[in-house]
């Protein structure tokens, strides 16, 4: 289950304050896989129209953002069929994610 991030379970167990507060700094991931968000590892997800998006599965968080060319148009590379994700998009976090 995606929301059962071990870090959160740990926090809940030890009642460490600051785990479920309003996280002020949105530019870092914290917990076991703490890091600055510039370190994320992306793969490619092909949407139903055949166009590319960067996909990142970072343990508890998931990210998706459009792949655009220099003119701002979608990149539709044709590397994989629609509705598939390829690449090492799950490799950036040590937090296990069974799904």
């Amino acid at each position: 289950m995606k929301f059962l991030k071990p870090a959160l379970v740990l926090c809940a167990a030890s009642l460490v304050a600051g785990c479920v507060d309003n996280k002020r700094n949105k530019t870092v991931d914290r917990g076991i896989d703490s890091k600055h968000l510039s370190q994320l590892q992306a793969g490619i997800w092909i949407d139903p129209k055949g166009c590319d998006h960067w996909i990142i599965d970072d343990g508890a968080e998931g990210y998706l953002s459009q792949r655009l060319d220099k003119y701002g148009k979608p990149v539709c590379s044709g590397t994989a069929p629609p509705n598939t994700a390829t690449g090492a998009y799950k490799s950036g976090s040590t937090v296990s994610d069974p799904i």
Binding site: F3, C19, V20, D21, N22, K23, R24, K26, T27, V28, D29, R30, H36, L37, S38, L40, A42, W54, I56, D58, A60, E61, G62, Y63, L64, S65, Q66, R67, L68, D69, K70, Y71, G72, K73, V75, C76, S77, G78, T79
Partner: protein, 193 residues
Amino acid sequence: MTGGLSKFARALPGRMAAAVMGLALAISAAGAAAAQQTTVIGERYAPTIWVDPDGCEHWVMDDGWEGYMSPHVNRQGIPVCRRGNVCGVMNTDQLFRTDSAHISSAGRARLVNFFHQANAVSYIITGHTDSRASDQYNMGLSLRRANAVARVAAGAGARIADVRGYGERMPKASNNTAAGMAQNRRVEIICIR
């Protein structure tokens, strides 16, 4: 009479637009004054930047539970990138005669060689012209030339993701000098890896 009427009708939208603009200005002036008193109910979500493998920036945030991401584009919708993946710029003077979209056999051989060596997953091919002739003509010519390059690429076994003609609208250099215009007459090849 009808002439007078239609003249009035033509002038009307202009007058209405002026009136609407005046109104909008008044509202924004009032809005600015009001904005100093209103409190925005919200939470601070300041992003950082993630650079994708193409070299382009994305806004990214992690609020502790969820992650958010969106491309960093300017107000014209052009992505903000630290590097580009244009892998080939073909000067069209070397491929085509003036106003022609026919590639010489030497040009064809050069292109085939280029696509064999580039070894990308697929290619986006965009044609461009200098600012001489009309915008409409240049849009057509640049697309015909981009398509000519794409046909050679496809013949060489390359996968083409998209073909576009931008005419004179995306200049690379100034059209005020002969050298600048020569740089603008080009077919750009974007390599998708």
